[in-house]
């Protein structure tokens, strides 16, 4: 049901400061039908044989070729913009989320938003500002502080066909709703033999912020990752935030969209025309030759900052924003590993049981023969996030550590 577009971006480096203009959008006619995917889903086996989706791989390979000329870890040249695409408009990440949300609410009257302070207050991070006035109290619902029950209510409403977007004011609060998310959201499609679909989107900011304290700096992707039946995605730029939000709303499966507290004010130029991002694909941020760096969410920016230093030192890192945390896009990751033979994972989750841990296991199982060195995984320390600024800095992976790790890996 979901029309899948892949808008790839050339030169997404230094997204913090610059607008990126060159994007190659797949035309609508190359929409991949689901039947096609069923016949030849991309399976990468450990013996090296790869069964690719024929249409997709060629297109991707072409795009990678075209990307290399633009993809340098320096300022993207705004004049190198593809003249065929419209100029687009600039906005901040939270505005991009809101745009995606608004477009989907316009498109489908079944979409509604529920969460704390999403209505009249406009959302604690302004993602839903203005929506309550436009759509009314029944579609943008202010809930009391009762995560367990309003998550359950959203899931119950989804069982009948509504498409609620449940916002946790901070992802950490959704721990209170873990039972509903795990047992009802993830499993109802299975235990009812396919009778019910749960098309909810559970979203909210998580991650380590600026001295927010231990309870407000949690990374819940590691707790949710083994729940069967849900999909997890993490957005990192305004472009993929809007795209992933729209795709998540249109998906029939429950999707958890992880945003990051510190990324809401990123500014970027995104296309005017409608687009969505594939929920299961990773994003090639910077192609390279020497080492594959896998990352997501805020760590992408730490990695890109380290990449600048690395390039100056003569290394050529390939940076992939994995975006899809469940399932992993092992197709793109596998191709990258086959090219570079070295993997560095940089994540914000804890060392124990985090996304990096699962990704390490998945890559080791599937691509062991291609690795020249053990996979290095840089994660946050296994501690509650301290309040003090210096301690908090040491909890999270910093660019200097990434540079050191790459140097060690490439020896």
């Amino acid at each position: 049901m979901a029309t899948i577009f892949q808008g790839l971006r050339g030169g997404a480096a230094a997204a913090l400061t610059n607008s990126i203009d060159s994007k190659k959008l797949l035309s609508r006619s190359t929409r991949r039908s689901l039947s096609e995917r069923k016949v030849s889903f991309p399976v990468v086996r450990s013996d090296g044989s790869v069964n690719l989706n024929p249409g997709g791989s060629n297109a991707r390979a072409r795009r990678v070729d075209q990307l290399i000329t633009n993809a340098v870890a320096t300022k993207a040249d705004s004049s190198a913009a593809s003249s065929t695409s419209k100029p687009g408009h600039e906005l901040l990440l939270f505005e991009a989320l809101r745009e995606g949300l608004e477009e989907e609410m316009d498109r489908d009257p079944h979409v509604c938003v529920m969460g704390e302070d999403v209505g009249h207050y406009g959302g604690s991070y302004k993602v839903t500002r203005g929506l309550a006035d436009k759509y009314g109290d029944l579609r943008v619902l202010d809930t009391p502080i009762a995560e367990n029950s309003f998550t359950g209510m959203g899931i119950g409403a989804a069982m009948t066909g509504l498409r609620p977007i449940i916002e946790g004011m901070n992802m950490g609060f959704l721990l209170l709703a873990f039972n509903q998310i795990s047992n009802n959201c993830g499993m109802l499609h299975y235990t009812s033999g396919g009778q019910f679909t749960i098309p909810v989107v559970i979203r909210g900011p998580g991650g380590v912020g600026r001295q927010l304290g231990a309870e407000h700096s949690q990374r819940l992707e590691s707790y949710f990752q083994s729940i069967p039946g849900i999909q997890m995605v993490a957005c990192s730029t305004p472009y993929n935030a809007k795209g992933l939000m729209k795709a998540a709303i249109r998906s029939e499966n429950p999707v958890i969209l992880f945003e990051h507290v510190l990324l809401y004010n990123l500014k970027e130029r995104i296309p005017d025309e409608e687009y969505i991002c594939n929920l299961e694909e990773a994003e090639m941020v910077r192609p390279g030759e020497h080492v594959t760096i896998l990352t997501y969410s805020r760590m992408r920016y730490h990695v890109m900052q380290a990449a600048k230093t690395l390039v100056n030192k003569g290394y050529d890192p390939e940076v992939i924003d994995i975006r899809s945390l469940k399932p992993f896009d092992l197709h793109m990751i596998g191709n990258s590993v086959k090219k570079t033979h070295r993997v560095l994972i940089v994540e914000e989750c804890m060392r124990t049981g985090g996304i990096g841990a699962s990704l390490t296991a998945a890559i080791t199982e599937n691509f062991h023969d291609y690795l020249d060195a053990p996979i290095v995984c840089l994660s946050s320390q296994d501690v509650p996030t301290p309040y003090a600024g210096t301690l908090e800095e040491w909890t999270v992976v910093q660019p200097a550590q990434i540079v050191t790790a790459v140097e060690q890996l490439c020896q």
Binding site: S149, N183, G193, E365, N366
Partner: protein
């Protein structure tokens, strides 16, 4: 259907009691929908509302259908008991015998557009919503013919097309779901209500009060029904709840206490509750009922209550006996005819079990279906987008 069977059985007894049989035969056919009024035996206790009338209108057809459906439910649960002991049903099996009046009375007061959601003691509610005996037994035995294709089990019966939303294992978690169903009814403006059933054990869950608060705030058409069988597994209600008056625990939400062993009281209360919910938001119903079996098949049910208590309730308050007495008092059928109905029900249940035993086990590939909608390339996958590595037989 009830009429034709009674007709045949009464013709058999024509030899023995020609006059009486002919009399009842004539009476049954001619007055099948003529109203009969019945007084509920126990008055309603109220909290913040006026009670509905104790006089309930019914008719012979409804009385006989209540009898038949409740007899089917009772027989089904007892058959499930034997199947469990024969190890054909595994895991958890929570039986509803004794509480049939709640399922049947509720069903009589509402339509299939209204939603019902309950916890794990759901076999009879599923049947009341239109499920078949074959689906029940197949699901209990984990076969393909089950309502959830064998993948749910005893605690996960669902029937979407008739508004039955399950079937939930975690105590109390279904109540917020039920309020969500009511929210959807309000959103879609379809004049239907949602009944969220829970037990006296779940009545102490926080999420219940959270959901009740939100429902009262947003005026959702939800009816919370506490099936109070006085024991939360092994813990009696007075040991679990400071205030066992569950119908009062909604505080600002009105409540009604109903004799849950009287199908007509239940029907009256549910009708009243539906009207209330559509007009002014949530209401709590407390059904005073009793289960004869233990909490589940692994609980003998006699360590925390005396056998005298169980048999006492069975003698005095059994819901099926109550309907039987009503039918005999109003001379709608003879004792023998009712026994024949029970025999027929028993046969139906046995046939359904036999057919369910024939139903095949799910295919190994079914392990991966319905994890995600529409497959998304593979039917299910872990982190590495592949199916499980082990070779399936």
């Amino acid at each position: 259907m009830a009429l034709s069977h009674l007709k045949s059985s009464s013709s058999r007894s024509n030899l023995v009691k020609p006059l009486a049989a002919a009399f009842s035969l004539r009476r049954l056919i001619s007055t099948s929908t003529d109203p009969i009024t019945i007084e509920t035996s126990v008055p309603f206790a109220t909290h913040r509302c006026d009670p509905p009338s104790r006089t309930v209108e019914t008719n012979p057809q409804e009385l006989l259908s209540f009898f038949r459906v409740m007899a089917t439910m009772r027989r089904m649960e007892i058959a499930a008991d034997s199947l469990y002991k024969a190890k054909l049903i595994r895991g958890f099996c929570h039986l509803y015998d004794g509480q049939e009046a709640v399922a049947v009375g509720m069903e009589a007061a509402i339509t299939k557009k209204d939603s019902i959601i309950t916890a794990y003691r759901d076999h009879c509610t599923f049947l009341g919503r239109g499920g078949t005996l074959l689906e029940v037994f197949s699901e209990l035995m984990g076969r393909q013919g089950g309502c959830s294709k064998g993948k749910g089990g005893s605690m996960h019966f669902y029937k979407k097309d008739s508004g039955f939303y399950g079937g939930h294992g975690i105590v109390g978690a279904q109540v917020p779901l039920g309020c969500g169903l009511a929210f959807a009814h309000k959103y879609n403006k379809d004049d239907a209500v949602a009944f969220a059933l829970y037990g006296d054990g779940a009545a102490n869950q926080g999420q219940l009060f959270e959901a009740l608060n939100i429902s009262a705030l947003w005026d959702l058409p939800v009816i919370l029904v506490c099936e109070n069988n006085h024991y939360g597994m092994g813990t009696a209600e007075w040991r679990a709840a400071k205030s066992p008056a569950y119908y009062k625990r909604g505080d600002y939400v009105p409540g009604l206490k109903v004799d849950g062993m009287d199908a007509f009281a239940v029907k009256q209360a549910c009708k009243f509750a539906k009207e209330h919910a559509l007009k002014s938001g949530p209401i709590i119903l407390e059904m005073d009922t009793y289960r004869y079996h233990g909490h589940s098949m692994s609980d003998p049910g006699s360590t925390y209550r005396t056998r005298d208590e169980i048999s006492g309730v069975r003698q005095e308050r059994d819901p099926i006996e109550r309907i039987r007495k009503l039918i005999l008092a109003h001379d709608l059928a003879t004792e023998k005819e009712l026994k024949d109905i029970e025999k027929e029900v028993r046969k139906q249940v046995d046939e359904a079990i036999a057919e369910a035993k024939e139903s095949p086990m799910p295919e190994p590939s079914e392990l991966f279906t319905n994890v995600y909608v529409k497959g998304l390339g593979v039917e299910a996958y872990g982190a590495d987008r592949k199916e499980v590595r082990a070779v399936l037989p």
